[in-house]
Amino acid sequence: MTDSSLLELKGVSKAFGAVQALSEVDFRVRAGEVMALVGDNGAGKSTLIKGVAGIYSFDEGEIYFDGARVQIHSPKDAASLGIEVVYQDLALADNLDVVANMFLGRERIRKPMRLDEESMEVACTETLQSLSVTTLRSVRQAVAGLSGGQRQAIAVAKAVMWNSRLVILDEPTAALGVAQTRQVLDLVRRLADKGLAVVLISHNLHDVFEVADRITVLRLGRAVIEVMASDTSQQEIVHAITAGTLREVPGMVN
């Protein structure tokens, strides 16, 4: 199993002053699977993700990407490995249209300084089609006019556009209604089916069991359990989140 992990963290720790946010956490995710990262508020999910995204550096521990030991000290390092993060609220600029948002920061330029709108529009349309995001009226629509689900889909599409190999989604369904949650979860599934590694952070265990292949539970800065979603139940995960153990699963009881 270990050899096929795309991202593997070994014994990572991070402290903020006296607060030990992460203690010797092991975490891994393979290409083509959705790994859910769950835990209570303050369990260390965000810290773990920000370490991988290069926003913080871990104090201790090792990061392996594609089998090779790597250092991630900045968001640029993460991006160059093919790691993209979709942040909860901060992903899009409302006044820009879909194309402009998807290419924000990586615009294609035709010499001397002109934006290459045609080529960006084509690439944007192709990416959205490949992800089966088909509910948009126009890719020239301002993002402000889109539904929550569509916005989230654009944010995800923006992340996968750059030949990314690992996409981290921070609470992608938190603000969505039932139908829109459905759309986004379908999209998350398709990412994994396309061979990307996906890390899904969510408080909603129903969503987690909908799409996740495996689940890692963090509690008080420690990874208490990693389990196949098909081998467990919501009750057991709730128990692990709150008490730190997984009951009644043979061979997994601490």
Partner: protein
């Protein structure tokens, strides 16, 4: 593929209604004043309106960029004056060629804008405060450098021609449109291209729309903000050259209040002070609305004090119309 053909400009579709309203307002003013006075719709008076718009319009172009980033530039008026004075110093005092003086004026404006942008993006001082400081600095420097006296360009008659000559009049006899008007439209066209076709324009909207998302997308917001303020400063520098050429002198005491006229033009043109929205065309229409009003009321012998009251009312009404539109 249909979407590709459909809508090149729909990025700005939300502004279309506002622009339409502003444009309709401008036409309405023309019609009303034309009916009210036979002197209004005369070639010479229209040229007068265009000429009166030139300096404010150019300042407003730069202000448009800054306001779309959700910033503000209070220093454009006094930076304009400083640029005019520097142009005077280069040409009259130092005896440099006219084109060097013009470049010097533009550079002065760009430099002031660069300093504004650096203070705002690196020292994290709010734009209002940073550019208020620059307002005073530029004003003080203009007085110091000029020694409180106007600088005249009497020895270089070609300088005046930059604004008051008429290349068009030479090509088409009788069609004496001053160069200042051509420069205004040329500058507006360039500003429009920068805002809509380049990365700088794209980031102007992005920063005003969601600065944090822009940063997280990997855009060097510090660099681009500085560039945007430097661009606004360059337009103020151009405004300085234009006003000096028009008056055939650099008046160090002039300039206060020009920033407010520029901001008024931008706001009337539908650019939102909360950022992310706005167009160059809107700003030009806004600038013309102000000068048509001023001109028309003067022709109707309304006292100048009342013209200012009317301008203020129009600013408020324009923004209120924008708010009503958004509610729908």
């Amino acid at each position: 593929m249909e979407t590709i053909l459909k809508s090149k400009n729909s990025l700005f579709r939300s502004d279309a209604t506002q622009k339409l309203m502003a444009f309709a307002g401008l036409i309405a003013l023309f019609v009303v004043f034309s009916i009210a006075s036979p002197n209004f719709f005369q070639f010479s008076n229209i040229i007068g309106i265009l000429l009166a718009t030139a300096v404010n319009g150019i300042l407003a172009l730069g202000a448009t960029f800054v306001i779309i980033t959700a910033g503000i530039d209070l220093s454009v008026g006094t930076v304009m004056t400083l640029s005019a004075v520097m142009t005077g110093v280069f040409i009259t005092v130092m005896g440099l060629p006219v084109y060097v003086g013009v470049l010097g004026g533009l550079t002065t404006g760009a430099l002031a804008g660069f300093i504004n942008g650096s203070i705002i993006s690196r020292m994290k001082i709010p734009p209002f405060v940073a550019t208020l400081g620059m307002l005073y600095i530029a004003k003080g420097l203009s007085l110091v450098i000029s020694g409180l006296k106007p600088v005249y360009f009497n020895d270089t008659p070609s300088f005046k021609e930059i604004a008051m000559g008429s290349i068009l009049g030479k090509i088409i006899p009788g069609f004496e449109v001053p160069n200042a008007v051509l420069i205004l439209f040329g500058a507006a066209f360039i500003a429009h291209l920068i805002l809509n076709k380049t990365v700088l324009g794209r980031y102007t909207y992005a920063i005003g729309s969601n600065e944090e998302a822009t940063r997280l997308s990997g855009v060097n917001v510090t660099f681009w903000k500085t560039a945007i303020y430097a661009l606004a400063g360059s337009f103020a520098g151009l405004g300085g050259v234009m006003i000096a050429a028009r008056l055939n002198s650099a008046q160090p005491a002039l300039g206060a209040g020009y920033e407010l006229d520029a901001i008024a033009a931008v706001v009337i043109g539908g650019t939102s002070l909360s950022g992310g929205e706005g167009t160059i065309l809107g700003t030009i229409i806004g600038a013309f609305i102000i000068s048509v009003l001023t001109n028309g009321l003067r022709i109707l012998s309304v006292p100048q004090e009342w013209q200012i009251v009317v301008t203020g009312t129009i600013v408020i009404l324009a923004v209120y119309a924008d708010i009503l539109r958004r509610r729908q």
